[in-house]
Symmetry: C2
Subunit: 247 residues, 2 copies
DNA sequence: TTGACAACCTTACGCCGTACGGTACCTTAC
DNA sequence: GTAAGGTACCGTACGGCGTAAGGTTGTCAA
């Protein structure tokens, strides 16, 4: 087809895993995760689908990769006296990252692999909690309470906004169609979503987050009443050596 | 190519939307939501794929339908004085329903339609909160805090157990492979998941749930001080009752 | 007997992920 | 100069997916 000279001149940016992942993210950001197919991605890169397999091992590899990129965007909790403020900021940063890439939360939750960025985030948050005086057990619970809230909250918002984007006005139509007399509270709730003024400036996410943080602080101060910060009463238990047979 | 007589004798249970949905649920329960395809479902019913379209309008219709069935399994919060106990029981019931059908949480969160069972559940919970003395605004926030926690918590557990089921020992191998010295807290966290004894009998889900409920009760009793003369404001202890539910 | 109707099937289209096997170009060695 | 080998990319094909369009069969009322 094209003469060698043309082709040489044209395609001298020879792809890379980085570029593949960035483009995949862009597609997912724009058209949703379902619009990301190998063929579509290849097309975007001016290449055939199978060529991508020189840089990634499968589509799952791509999905893992773009999730890692999102997780890497999260601001890790800083050190210092105020554990609450540090954790709060990190959680909001997490929330924001997921809001920027609405497909990410669903991917994270659907049993995808844990990459280095994810481990680093968890390590930072867990460490920050331990450092603040939480016991190992309490830290475990605190982590999951925070993580659940972040994920659940963001997933809901993502689903809602996806629907609102796909079909604006669908919510109004839906609520007008149902017997309001039978579901007054539901109607009220939907109304609150439609008229943002009712939400008094505090997002649903931050409200729940503060609820959890307040509860945690109470537990923390109750369990270590006088000690200021470093009170690692228990040494960090090493992960068990292979007591079981290493496969 | 069976003869007419055979066919008449054999297939005289002529399908129905109910039967289609039940079978779809069974497939999803057993092999995960990805294993549910129209062809597979039809095969299970001894029928061709296109025949299903006489009972459902699309695959999404099926997904909506099975989600509704799951939601209908949730125990609605009962009336009475103790709003906290009522909401708590309902939340745990929700959690259990999602645990029985691990694909459901992901479907609910991915922008699927809201059916009557879902509306009924929301109405009951919202109404119960209002009745307990929460303001409209507070009820809105409380609902989302609870919902986020239930969804987030269950989604995480679903993903984790799906991975553990698909490849038992993957977690151990993963944690042994990473540099424990660099990620001591992460290693500790994983260890806590592997040795359930560390979890002292209170599930991650219930811990977070009680954190939220305690926080809500505090807000409630602060905003309506006179109505809290009942004994409901007991100290923040949670009942140590093990939520046993043989599935 | 006829004809309407419900229940179910056949075929086909355009997607999808990816296994397998090329081919074109670049670098390096002789 | 030329041959070898590696890197980057492409063509073809397979089995699966959801579903549009239309065909066939069995049942039953008129």
């Amino acid at each position: 087809m094209a003469r060698p000279a043309d082709r040489v001149a044209e395609r001298r940016v020879p792809l890379s895993k980085e570029r593949v992942l960035r483009t995949a993210m862009a597609i997912a950001d724009q058209g949703g995760i379902d619009s990301l197919s190998m063929r579509r991605l290849a097309q975007e890169l001016g290449v055939e689908a199978m060529s991508l397999y020189h840089y990634v091992s499968s589509k799952d590899d791509i999905l893992n990769g773009i999730v890692e990129i999102v997780v890497a965007e999260i601001e890790l909790p800083s050190g210092g006296k105020d554990w609450r403020a540090a954790v709060r900021r990190s959680a909001i940063s997490f929330h924001d990252a997921l809001a920027r890439h609405r497909w990410a939360a669903n991917l994270i939750m659907s049993g995808i692999g844990v990459g280095t960025a994810r481990v680093r985030y968890m390590e930072a948050l867990l460490g920050r909690l331990r450092e603040a005086g939480f016991s190992a057990n309490m830290t475990h619970h605190a982590y999951h309470a925070l993580d659940s809230h972040i994920m659940g909250s963001t997933l809901w918002a993502a689903g809602y906004s996806a629907l609102a984007k796909a079909d604006p006005g669908a919510v109004q139509r839906f609520v007008q169609k149902l017997p309001v007399a039978d579901y007054p509270y539901f109607a009220e709730h939907v109304d609150q979503h439609l008229t943002k003024s009712a939400r008094d400036g505090v997002s649903e996410f931050e409200f729940g987050l503060d609820l959890i943080l307040d509860g945690l602080e109470k537990v923390r101060s109750a369990s270590s009443p006088r000690s200021s910060t470093r009170r690692t009463d228990r040494p960090i238990r090493r992960s068990r050596r292979p007591t079981r047979r290493p496969s």
